[in-house]
Amino acid sequence: MIGTGILKGMGITLKRFFSKKITQDYPDVMPVITPRSHGSLDFDAEKCITCGICANECPNSCIKLDTFKNEQGKKVLEKYSINLGYCLFCGLCVNACPKGALSFKTDFELACFSREGAIYTWKGKEPRPEETPAQPGDAKTAAGE
C-alpha cells in the first residue's frame, strides 16, 4: 500500500530521535586519535645527520635544511624547517629518513593567521659560530621538542 514506506521511514527517524547521539564536544573534549594519525610532523634534531634525503624525497619541496661546516669540518644542522602549508602529509620523508629523525605526531591543530605561521622551524644541535641566526617572522619555534 502506498504510504507504508513513508510510515516505516518515520518510525526509523523516531527511533533515531531517542538513540545515542554521536556529537563530539570537540574544543572542550579532545577526540581520541589513533597513534598513526598524520596530524603534523615532528623533528628530532639530535638524530639528524643532515643527509638531505628527506628534502630530496619531498614531492612538494617543502623541507628546507640550513647547514654549515663546524670547526671539525663536519656538516652540522643549523636550522630545519618544514612548510606545512605545502605539505601533503604523504609520509615519504618519514619513510626515507635513515635515522628516524622525522615522525608524525597526532597534534592536528595547525591553524595559523599567516602563511609564515605554517612554516615550522627547529634549531640544530649547535648554533652557527659567527652570528646568531635571525628568527623568521612569527614562525613557531619548537626547538628540541
Binding site: G9, M10, L14, R16, K20, K21, I22, T23
Partner: protein
C-alpha cells in the same frame, strides 16, 4: 481653569471611540508581535534541536541552557549584517516582498484562539479568513522571485504560484466537512463543538488531506520546492541578505506555528483539556503538532514538481470532495437515526 480644561480634553480625546480602538489595536499588535518574537526564538531552537536529534546529533548546546540563546545570537547576527540591495533588482518589489510575507503571517495570528476567551478578533468567518490570508502569501513570494531578477528566484517564485494556488483547493475543501458538522465558521464555535469528540476522529480523511496541503502551504519539505536549496540554490530568497532574509526566515517559523495552531483548533479540540489552563493546553497541543511537522520534514525527501501536481489534482481534490460527500451522508444518517431534524 485652563489646565482643568486641558485634562478633560485629553480625557475626551482618549474617550473618542476611534482613538480608543486605535490604541487597543496598538496594544494588540504589540502583544502579538512580542508573542511571535518569543515564539520564533523558541521554535528556531526547537527546530534545530529536533532536527539534530533526528540526525543523531545534539545541535546547538553552547549558548544558554541547552543552547536556548542560540537563536538570539543568530538574530543579532542577522540584524547587524549589511542591508544589501543588488544593483539590477526591481527595488520596490524586491524590498516590499519580505515585509508582505511577514505581514500575511501576522494577520493569521489575529484570528487564532489562544485559549478560552483569549482571541484577538473573534471573527464569525474565522475559517474563511484563515484560508484567504494564507493564500495571499503567494503574491508576496512571487514578488520576491520576480523582483530579485535572478533566474533561480524566478523559478522558485513560479513554483510557489503553481503549488499554492492548486493546493488551496483541497486545503479549503478539507475544512468544509468541519464547517458542515458545526454549521459555523467561527473558531470558538468549532472548538466548542469538539467538547465530546475531536474532529480528527470524525474527519480522519479530511485531516490527512489537510496535513498534506498544510505542508505544501508552509513550503515545508517534502513540498519545499520554492526554496529547494539543492536545485534552486535558495529559490526566491536567493538574493536576500541581512534582515530581509531574516524576515522571510522569521515568517517561515511563525507560519509553522500558526498552521499547527489551525490544525489543533480544527481537529484536536483547540484549547480544550482537563486540569491545566486552556492557554497551556493550546500551547502543548500546538507544539506537539509543530514537532509532528518537523518530524515529517526531517524524514521525507522532496517531491518532484509534476508528481506534486498529480498528487494534488488526481488524489487530494477527489479525496477532499469524497470527504464532503461522506460527511453529508453521515450527517443525514445521524439525523435520521436520532430523529433530529427533518427529511
Amino acid at each position: 481653569m485652563d489646565s482643568n480644561n486641558n485634562i478633560t480634553s485629553i480625557w475626551d480625546f482618549f474617550q473618542n471611540p476611534i482613538i480608543m480602538n486605535l490604541l487597543i489595536g496598538v496594544v494588540y499588535f504589540a502583544a502579538i508581535a512580542a508573542f511571535i518574537t518569543v515564539l520564533v526564538i523558541i521554535l528556531m531552537w526547537m527546530d534545530r534541536r529536533v532536527a539534530a536529534f533526528f540526525q543523531e546529533r545534539l545541535g546547538p548546546i553552547k549558548y544558554g541552557p541547552q543552547g536556548l540563546l542560540q537563536p538570539v545570537f543568530d538574530a543579532v547576527k542577522m540584524v547587524s549584517k549589511g542591508n544589501i540591495t543588488p544593483r539590477n533588482v526591481d527595488k520596490l518589489v524586491y524590498n516590499l516582498a519580505p515585509m508582505l510575507i511577514f505581514m500575511t503571517t501576522l494577520l493569521v495570528y489575529a484570528a487564532l484562539p489562544y485559549g478560552k476567551n483569549l482571541t484577538v478578533v473573534n471573527l464569525n468567518v474565522g475559517v474563511l479568513y484563515l484560508i484567504a490570508i494564507s493564500s495571499t502569501a503567494t503574491i508576496a513570494i512571487l514578488m520576491g522571485g520576480w523582483g530579485s531578477n535572478n533566474k533561480y528566484s524566478l523559478i522558485g517564485g513560479m513554483r510557489t504560484v503553481a503549488m499554492i494556488i492548486s493546493y488551496e483547493i483541497p486545503f479549503a475543501f478539507s475544512l468544509l466537512g468541519i464547517i458542515m458538522l458545526t454549521g459555523s465558521m467561527n473558531m470558538t464555535d468549532i472548538i466548542n463543538a469538539q467538547k465530546n469528540v475531536w474532529f480528527v476522529f470524525l474527519q480522519p480523511l479530511a485531516f490527512v488531506v489537510f496535513m498534506i496541503t498544510a505542508m505544501a502551504e508552509l513550503n515545508k519539505s517534502p513540498f519545499d520546492l520554492p526554496e529547494a536549496e539543492s536545485e534552486l540554490v535558495a529559490g526566491f530568497i536567493t538574493e536576500y541578505a541581512g534582515m530581509k532574509f531574516g524576515l522571510v526566515y522569521l515568517a517561515e517559523y511563525a507560519n509553522m506555528f500558526s498552521m499547527a495552531a489551525i490544525a489543533v483548533t480544527l481537529f484536536f479540540g483547540g484549547w480544550q483539556g482537563p486540569l491545566l489552563p486552556s492557554w497551556l493546553w493550546f500551547l502543548i497541543k500546538t507544539l506537539l503538532m509543530v514537532f509532528f511537522i518537523m518530524w515529517i520534514r526531517w524524514t521525507l525527501p522532496r517531491i518532484r514538481i509534476d508528481k506534486m501536481m498529480k498528487l494534488n489534482w488526481k488524489v487530494l481534490i477527489p479525496l477532499s470532495i469524497l470527504n464532503i460527500f461522506l460527511t453529508g451522508i453521515g450527517i443525514k444518517l445521524y439525523q435520521y437515526f436520532t430523529g433530529m431534524g427533518g427529511v
